[in-house]
Symmetry: C2
Subunit: 192 residues, 2 copies
């Protein structure tokens, strides 16, 4: 069976056997227990990760309050790009909400891919393009959406996640306190 | 003198003479008068642009209210990436706030660069990485910053723009009404 990350890469573009061998050599598999951190604020983001199974959340600490801005279920990317690309301390955290298996690659290995493979830069461009579109949408949502609309987007975007994530984290993602989320849900149930 | 966009590209990475010739052939220069739109909501984003001179703003229409989320002065990128990459109608607008000169490349020509140059994918990856870091920061700011902090960030990030942009557009970027921005400015002048 082909490795998980080769499968992910091949969904983006064709890759030669030679390049695949280089990727296989340098990707590593890591396991995180529920609650463990993939990335801690103040530390350098050493790896870009792709989740094979499990679930993580990206969050920001704001005066002790945790603000969750991205849920990464299966086949999603884990990273703080600024920290990873410039190898500076991260301003954000990434934490496992379930036991999670992640395929990771270091900055050094990624640079190796860019200089030693034919497909590396193409894959980098395609992945960044996808992440960028996601961020562009998330940013637009903050400018235009009400909490109700943000909750509806959460349901649309993560249809299978509502049962896997606590109300506390969903409320944090929507940008309201848990009691407000509860009121929003009740209103939406009454007027679907 | 080397073309403007070749100069920009060379700040990112080394480019062969052969690749430069291909880029020169396919970049176009366009001029926009103050008030003109580079990109209109509902239309497909045909070009990625780099501003040589002038100033544009990216904004979203929210029930008739314009929400400005990005100012592009000299040497910045103009685009709605989702619309550009997938060639679907844009949900955002890009408008000239001053007479603006833009170097543009179409999606078709960009795909040509990716398949016919050695440096195309590398440049794409580097540019997208920069845009992504900017978006990541902007998104974090919405989760954690007060209007005061967002105004301070505007001043820090665009130190030369405050005199070039109307209070109406700055307030829209900060996410408050113009009278609130006026109060924020007064408070900051009193307690710098």
């Amino acid at each position: 069976m082909e490795s998980f990350f080769i499968h992910i890469i091949q969904q983006l573009t064709q890759v030669s056997e030679q390049d695949k061998a280089i990727y296989r050599e340098r990707f590593q598999v890591k396991h995180y227990r529920k609650g463990e951190l993939f990335l801690r604020e103040g530390q350098v983001c050493k790896y870009i990760g792709i989740t094979e199974s499990g679930l993580m959340r990206h969050y920001i600490n704001q005066n002790g309050q945790e603000r969750t801005y991205y849920f990464a279920q299966e086949h999603r990317f884990l990273c703080n790009y600024e920290s990873f690309i410039s190898q500076t301390p991260s301003s954000t955290n990434v934490q496992a909400l379930e036991d999670t298996t992640v395929h990771v690659v270091s900055n050094e290995d990624l640079e190796y891919f860019y200089t030693h493979t034919e497909s590396g830069n193409r894959i980098g461009r395609l992945v960044l393009g996808k992440v960028l579109i996601k961020l562009e949408k998330d940013l637009a949502s903050f400018y235009t959406d009400t909490p109700e609309q943000r909750y509806q987007k959460f349901i649309d975007e993560y249809p299978d996640l509502e049962q896997r994530i606590s109300q506390y984290h969903i409320a944090s993602f929507v940008g309201v306190k848990p009691p407000s989320l509860s009121r929003i849900r009740k209103r939406m149930l009454k007027n679907p």
